[in-house]
Symmetry: C2
Subunit: 333 residues, 2 copies
């Protein structure tokens, strides 16, 4: 079968429609009952040998042309190989095509059904992705060796039951932390603020912990909360304000954030702290980013892989006027 | 015991020398048999209650002063708690004090012995560290909650026995890869270049693989190696040249580099590839960096943690006039 490309679509008659759309979910039915195929679909049919040429091109020529993106083709093929039917996200072909490349149906379903399994956005590993585009799609990242990593992105609810009260405490502001020499035991033991210098006695607070406690009126320190925040900005720049916003939002939601340094993150979090003697596993790794951040897929892969390895969920706190919580996890379609 | 601080040292007489140096390895013996203590040592003795004041200051005042860095104190204390004697790296006190903060002796040994266990450099998590300073020291990173992560840095030998010959092959340069439609089987199966599109048939090469093979004269592609390198620079900037240098150095040393994307790295490497059917575990994760790179400790922690979790060694390829190989791994002193 030899087909032609015009206006960015490959069109064919009713026999092709029966064979490719009705039987296998390729393309879309046009008004007269004819078939329209997106170029990536035509490339797949060419690759399979189901059609012979498109505008005289074989699959090799079509992939070398500008009509089909190689990364889109690899993802299309991979999802077909995994047993899915899928439709290119073109205006009028699928609902809400904005920001995605394919709509994937549940196995056994197709474009004639109502159900959607995944909304997939395709990127090469060198393409950056705006954080604002994520949260409602699966990112299919094609790496330089053409292997595909699927990352599911969702919005994340954040909340917990940690709410221990802390009596007043005094501290010394050192270079990058606050040292409380005679803290009430609840500070560390119940509310899990700071870190002990020894098995009892002095507790060291990070600058975000100290700024939060000083704002709350719990911690007294020379210069008050302002001095702590100013020090934070000196040593961390505007990132400190973003981290303090996220820290405060988490604490106010009943979640205890502790440093995520060992995991390369800003925070790890505990949703239900009653006592440090009875601490569960921390659930989330949180990386704090400005709302207009653009992800490098490689950085995403690194964070998600690490979080998976330590049985935590990777969450990005996107700080704009409010904090939005974006979770990203590996997916095997 | 009340001591005084002058010229950046705390000095005391022979009784103090017997008690602190002879018995516990603090400080250094001065000409007359008296004792000189670095401020961080004096702070530790104050913290332990072994002395009462330094220039009228208690430990709280001394730590709040500029005389002692809090991060140095935390690391000093931690190593003492772990049973080590150690000496501040001052000119005339230890060999090669440049670039480090402490010389740590093997357990049971002290400054009166010849052996050195670790040369330790102390940094806060917000300090950056020049790559050129690493390779012969242990980095003690104090995070914002004052927990300490020890990272051992070493130079790394790189070499292997992978040396399969590959017959000539032709490919199409697509946007970010080269597609070889009819490759010799040795290309993938023996030499482990590229990735198959299906169980047999076409092989996709990454741009670094293609550039290397074109330089070698093995791959023919429109425009030759220059076209591939030019494309690499278009999509990756000067990072492409660094990565190609490292890729070529590894291949020439008998090591097969494959993408490290899933681990957030540039490459994972296989030292002894004879056939892809008999592939071992990849040994190294390689991140390519310019020789003048400054590490953020948090990024280091992330890379090292991930590599450890997947049982590989984290290696940084520092590209200047030559490639230097720096391995970094977690250490429990």
């Amino acid at each position: 079968m030899e087909l032609t490309l015009s206006d960015g679509l490959v069109r064919a008659g009713q026999r092709a429609r029966e064979r490719f759309y009705d039987a296998s979910g390729y393309g879309r039915v046009e008004n007269g009952g004819d078939l329209a195929l997106a170029p990536v679909e035509a490339a797949h049919l060419l690759y399979r040998g189901d059609i012979d040429s498109v505008d005289g091109m074989d699959v090799r020529s079509l992939l070398a042309s500008a009509a089909v993106s190689e990364v889109a083709f690899f993802v299309y093929k991979d999802l077909r190989d995994r047993g899915f039917y899928l439709t290119p996200a073109r205006e009028g072909w699928v609902d809400d095509p904005e920001g995605i490349d394919f709509v994937v149906y549940p196995r056994g379903k197709g474009p004639w059904d109502d159900a959607v399994e995944y909304r997939v956005r395709v990127v090469g590993e060198r393409d950056t992705v705006p954080a604002t585009d994520l949260g409602d799609c699966v990112l299919a990242v094609v790496d330089e060796e053409s292997e595909i990593t699927y990352l599911e992105t969702d919005s994340q609810d954040v909340g917990g039951t940690s709410a221990a009260a802390v009596p007043a405490v005094a501290g010394d502001l050192l270079a990058e932390r606050v040292l409380c020499w005679e803290p009430p035991s609840a500070l560390y033991e119940r509310a899990f603020y700071g870190q002990r210098l020894d098995d009892d006695g002095a507790v060291q607070l990070s600058l975000v912990e100290a700024a939060y406690l000083a704002h709350e009126g719990t911690l007294s320190v020379d210069g008050g909360a302002d001095a702590v925040v100013e020090r934070g900005r000196e040593v961390e720049g505007e990132r400190f304000d973003r981290r303090l916003t996220v820290y405060s939002t988490l604490r106010d939601a009943g979640v205890v954030p502790k440093t995520g340094f060992k995991f390369g993150a800003d925070f790890r979090t505990y949703a239900d702290v009653d006592s440090v003697d009875d601490l569960g596993h921390s659930e989330l790794l949180v990386r704090v980013l400005p709302a207009d951040h653009r992800f490098e897929p490689r950085d995403l892969a690194l964070d998600v892989r690490l979080a998976h390895g330590v049985r935590k969920r990777m969450v990005f706190a996107l700080v704009g006027d409010e904090v939005e919580w974006l979770s990203v996890a590996r997916l095997t379609p």
